[in-house]
Symmetry: C2
Subunit: 486 residues, 2 copies
C-alpha cells in the first residue's frame, strides 16, 4: 500500500481492478530481473556467475541469432527512402539489389502511397488482396480481401476480436491450458471469463475433445455465456502441431454449440513433424461436404510477421481473416479498428512480402530460399539439441519437438525444493526459474505463467538462442539444484 494514497487521484487500490488482475509472466518479474542483470553486465565486470543473459523467455528471434531475410529488408529500405529509386543503377551495380526488389518496392509504394501516411483502417487494399491470394493458394479455397484486417501483430488482432466478443462479465471464452497468457490477460482486462480446457500432455499436448466438452458444460451450468474457443496451432507454449482430425473435431464442436473459433496460427510455418492444417482450409472442406451444417461457422484466423522464418516481431505486422461473421458485426469490427487508425504501414508491407515472397525463377529467389531454409534447419537443430539435453536430465520429461519455437518440459522437483519455494512465497516452478536465472543467466518462463494442471510443473524455453553452450549450463544447473534439494 502506497503511503501517498490520499494525495493523488490514482493509487493501487482505486485504478482499474481488471488491469490489476491481469497476469503476464512472459515479461514479468523474472524478465525484469534478467534485464537488470543484462544492464549490470553491460557496465563491465560484475559479481554475477555468468557473463551473458540468454533470453529464452520470449520468442524474439532477431534479438538472438536469427538474421532478417535480405529480400524483405532491401525492399523496406526503399520504402523508407523512395529517393533511392532515383539511383537504380547504383542499387543494382554497387549494392546488389535485384530487379525484383526494385519492382516490389515500386509496387508497394504505389499501393500505400507513403509508408508515413495512414492507410485505410483495416489495411491497404492492395496488401489485403495479396493476403487473400496467399490464403487461396495455401488452402485451395477462395478468400475475400474484404474479410481481411491487417493488424499490429497478432496480439492486436486478438485484442480487437475479444473486445467485440466480450459483452458482459458472464461472457466466457474457452482457452487452452497451458496457453500464451495474452488470452487470459486480455480476458481479465475485459472483465470476461476464461473457460480453461486442458490440453492432453500424454498426446503430445493435442486437443482433447472430451476436455473441451467438459469445460464447456461446466461453464454453461455455472451460468457462463460461452461464445468462443481459442486454439493455438502450432501450440504456444506447448509446440504441439494438430492433426486434421483434431482441427475437424474442434470445428464440429464449435458448429454444434455456435462458438466463434479464434485460430491463432502464427506458428504455421514452424512445423517440424507432419503438416500444418489451417482451420480455414479444413472448414471449407467440411462445408463442401455439408454446406448447410457448417454454413454459419464463425472463424477468425490470425497470422503474424513475428514468428516463422520471418521473425520480424519489432515491426508489429499481422492480419486476421474472418469467415462466416455477420456483416453488422464486421461493421463494428471496422469501427473498432478505425479508432486506433491503422496498423503500422511498414509492418503491413512486411505482411505483403511474407505472403508473397520471391518465386522460383525470380532474381531474389535463390538467396531467399537459402536464408529461409537455413533458418528452418537451424531452429530444428537447436530444438533437437535441447530436447536431447532434457531427455538426460533427472526428473525432466519432454515430448519430441513438433512445431512453434518452444519446448515445454515437465519437471518433477524434490519435496525440499517445494518447501523452499513456499518459504519464498513462490510456486515451485517459479522458484526453479529464478534459481536458473541467478545461476546461469538463462531466462525461461515458469509453467504457472501459462497455466498447468494442479500439482504439475513445467517451464517454457524458446530454442532460438545460438550455440549449445547454454543448454549445457541448464543441465549443469539442474543437476546441482537436484543435489541441493534431494
Amino acid at each position: 500500500m502506497s503511503s501517498t494514497t490520499p494525495l493523488r487521484s490514482l493509487n493501487i487500490n482505486n485504478i482499474n481492478p481488471h488491469v490489476k488482475e491481469a497476469k503476464y509472466a512472459v515479461r514479468g518479474e523474472l524478465a525484469v530481473r534478467s534485464e537488470e542483470y543484462r544492464a549490470q553486465l553491460a557496465k563491465g565486470p560484475s559479481n554475477l556467475p555468468f557473463d551473458k543473459i540468454i533470453s529464452a523467455n520470449i520468442g524474439n528471434p532477431q534479438q538472438l541469432d536469427q538474421k532478417p531475410i535480405t529480400f524483405f529488408r532491401q525492399v523496406l529500405s526503399l520504402l523508407e527512402n523512395p529517393l533511392l529509386l532515383e539511383s537504380e543503377d547504383v542499387l543494382v551495380k554497387h549494392l546488389g539489389y535485384k530487379s525484383d526488389v526494385i519492382e516490389r518496392a515500386k509496387w508497394l509504394l504505389k499501393t500505400v502511397g507513403s509508408v508515413g501516411a495512414y492507410s485505410a483502417s483495416a489495411g491497404a487494399p492492395g496488401i489485403k488482396e495479396s493476403v487473400a491470394k496467399f490464403i487461396e493458394a495455401r488452402d485451395g479455397h477462395s478468400a475475400d480481401p474484404k474479410d481481411i484486417y491487417l493488424s499490429a501483430g497478432a496480439s492486436s488482432g486478438v485484442n480487437t476480436l475479444l473486445h467485440i466478443i466480450c459483452a458482459s462479465p458472464q461472457t466466457g471464452v474457452l482457452v487452452p491450458i497451458p496457453q500464451y497468457p495474452l488470452y487470459t490477460a486480455s480476458l481479465s482486462v475485459l472483465n470476461a471469463k476464461c473457460v480453461p480446457y486442458y490440453l492432453d500432455e500424454a498426446k503430445n499436448w493435442g486437443t482433447d475433445l472430451e476436455a473441451i466438452k467438459g469445460a464447456y458444460k461446466h461453464a454453461v451450468s455455472d451460468g457462463t455465456d460461452v461464445r468462443a474457443i481459442v486454439i493455438i496451432n502450432p501450440g504456444n507454449p506447448t509446440g504441439a502441431s494438430l492433426s486434421a482430425d483434431d482441427v475437424k473435431a474442434v470445428i464440429e464442436f464449435a458448429a454444434q454449440e455456435k462458438l466463434v473459433i479464434m485460430a491463432d496460427e502464427v506458428y504455421q510455418t514452424n512445423v517440424f513433424k507432419g503438416k500444418f492444417h489451417s482451420f480455414k482450409g479444413v472448414l471449407r472442406e467440411m462445408q463442401k461436404a455439408d454446406a448447410e451444417k457448417y454454413k454459419y461457422v464463425e472463424l477468425a484466423s490470425l497470422h503474424s510477421v513475428s514468428k516463422g522464418m520471418v521473425g520480424e516481431c519489432g515491426h508489429r505486422g499481422g492480419y486476421f481473416e474472418l469467415c462466416g461473421f455477420d456483416l453488422e458485426v464486421q461493421d463494428q469490427i471496422y469501427k473498432f479498428v478505425s479508432i486506433s487508425l491503422c496498423a503500422p504501414v511498414i509492418g503491413q508491407c512486411l505482411v505483403e512480402m511474407m505472403v508473397n515472397p520471391p518465386k522460383e525463377g525470380q532474381p531474389s529467389y535463390e538467396l531467399y530460399k537459402q536464408e529461409y531454409d537455413g533458418i528452418f534447419a537451424g531452429l530444428q537443430k537447436r530444438a533437437t539439441a535441447l530436447y536431447e539435453a532434457f531427455k538426460d536430465m533427472e526428473g525432466v520429461k519432454c515430448g519430441e519437438p513438433q512445431g512453434s519455437m518452444y519446448l515445454f518440459p515437465t519437471i518433477t522437483l524434490p519435496p525440499k525444493a517445494i518447501e523452499a519455494a513456499k518459504k519464498e512465497d513462490r510456486s515451485p516452478d517459479e522458484f526453479y526459474t529464478f534459481r536458473l536465472l541467478d545461476a546461469t543467466g538463462v531466462c525461461v518462463v515458469a509453467g504457472s505463467g501459462f497455466g498447468q494442471k494442479e500439482g504439475e510443473l513445467h517451464f517454457r524455453t524458446t530454442f532460438l538462442a545460438p550455440g549449445t553452450e547454454w543448454v549445457g549450463q541448464i543441465s549443469k544447473f539442474h543437476k546441482e539444484f537436484m543435489e541441493e534439494f534431494r
Copy 2:
C-alpha cells in the same frame, strides 16, 4: 437486425454493447463513401461531378502534399537494411548520405539491436534517454527516462492511460468539447463516463475555467467519480493554442480536485500564433514556486511522430511522459503495455530522430532546416488561404488560424436545409458535409463528430491538401447550397 441472428454466436444485439456505443466519425460513413468515390475514380471515367477526392477529414500529411524529412528516411533505410552500412563509400559518394546519417543509423542499431526484434515493453532504453533530453531542453527542467513510455502513436498512449484510470462505470474523465473523438470513443469502450466541458469559441476556443468547474461540480453531484481531465493543446479540432495562464489555471484546478491531467500535445510544433507552453514546463515552474502544493500533481503528456513537420502517421510512433504518478500505478502501466509487447521499433527510432534532429553545424542540418521550415510555411500559407475563403462565405465564421492542422468554422444554415437534413435523418452539419462531398469530392468532418453546443453547427477541415483550387470548390458549393435552401 440481421436475418441470421439465431444462427451464429455473434450478432449486432449480443456483442459488446460498449463497442457499439462508441462513435468515431473521422473514419465513419462519410469517409467510407469518399473512399468508394476514390475507388470509382481510379477505375476510369465516372459520372461523378469531380475528378479527385480531397481527404480533408483526417490529419494525414503524407497522403497529401507533405514530403517526409530526408534525414529521417535516410536513417530509416539503413535501419531496415543494415547491410548497406558495409558500403559506406557508395552511400556517401553515389547516394548523398551524409556522415551524420550513417552515424545516427549505427547508434540506433546499437541501441535497438535489430528493428525486427521486440524492444523492452516501454521502449528501447537509449531512445527513452533521448526523449528525456529533449523534454529537458524544451522545458528547462529535468526528465527521467524511466517515466517515459514509447507507444504506437499517441492514440495507443491514450488507450493505456484510460485503461488504468477507468475503474468502474462511475469513473468520469473531463473531456473538452469539441474534441478529437478518440477520447469519447475510448471512454465508451471502457464503459466510463465522459464529463464534457465546453471550450470558449468567443475566446478562440480557449479553455474556460468556469466551464470546467461547472462541468466537474455537476458530474460530482450526479455521483460521478471524476479522476482526470483531458486537454488537447494545440487543439483538435479547434486549432486553439493555449496561453501559459490557461495552462496554469488547469493545473491549479487539477491540483485542487486531485485530477490526473492528460495533456495531448501532439501538435506542439504546429503553432502559428504565440508560443507552445507545455504542461510539464508550466507544472515544474509552479512546483518551483510552491513545492508542497503541487507535489502530487499527476500529469501524463503525450506526443507523436504523426503530426508537426514530421507527419509520419503511418509509422505509429509516439510517447507519453508521467509526472507525479504513484510507483505502484506505474508498475501496472508497465504490465499493461507489456501485454501488447512493444511499440513498433521503427516508429520508436523515428521518435528518437524527431526529438533529436540534426543540429546546426552537422552535415544534414541545412537540408533538414530547409525542409522543416518549408513544411511549416506551407501549412501556414494554406491555413491562411482557407481562413480568407471562409471569411467571404455567407453564414460562415472562423477564428484566425493559431495552431494544429485544422480549422473549425461555425456555419449557419437556412431553416430549409435543417428540414431537409431531418428528412434524411441526419444532423444539419452532417447533411452539409455529405452534400459537400457529393458535389466536390472534398471530405471534411461534421462538427457533431467532435461535439458542439446544442443548436450550433461546424465542420472540421485540415489545411493539408495542396493548392487552393479545392478551397474555391468549397466556396462555390457553399454559395449554391445557400441558394438552394434559402
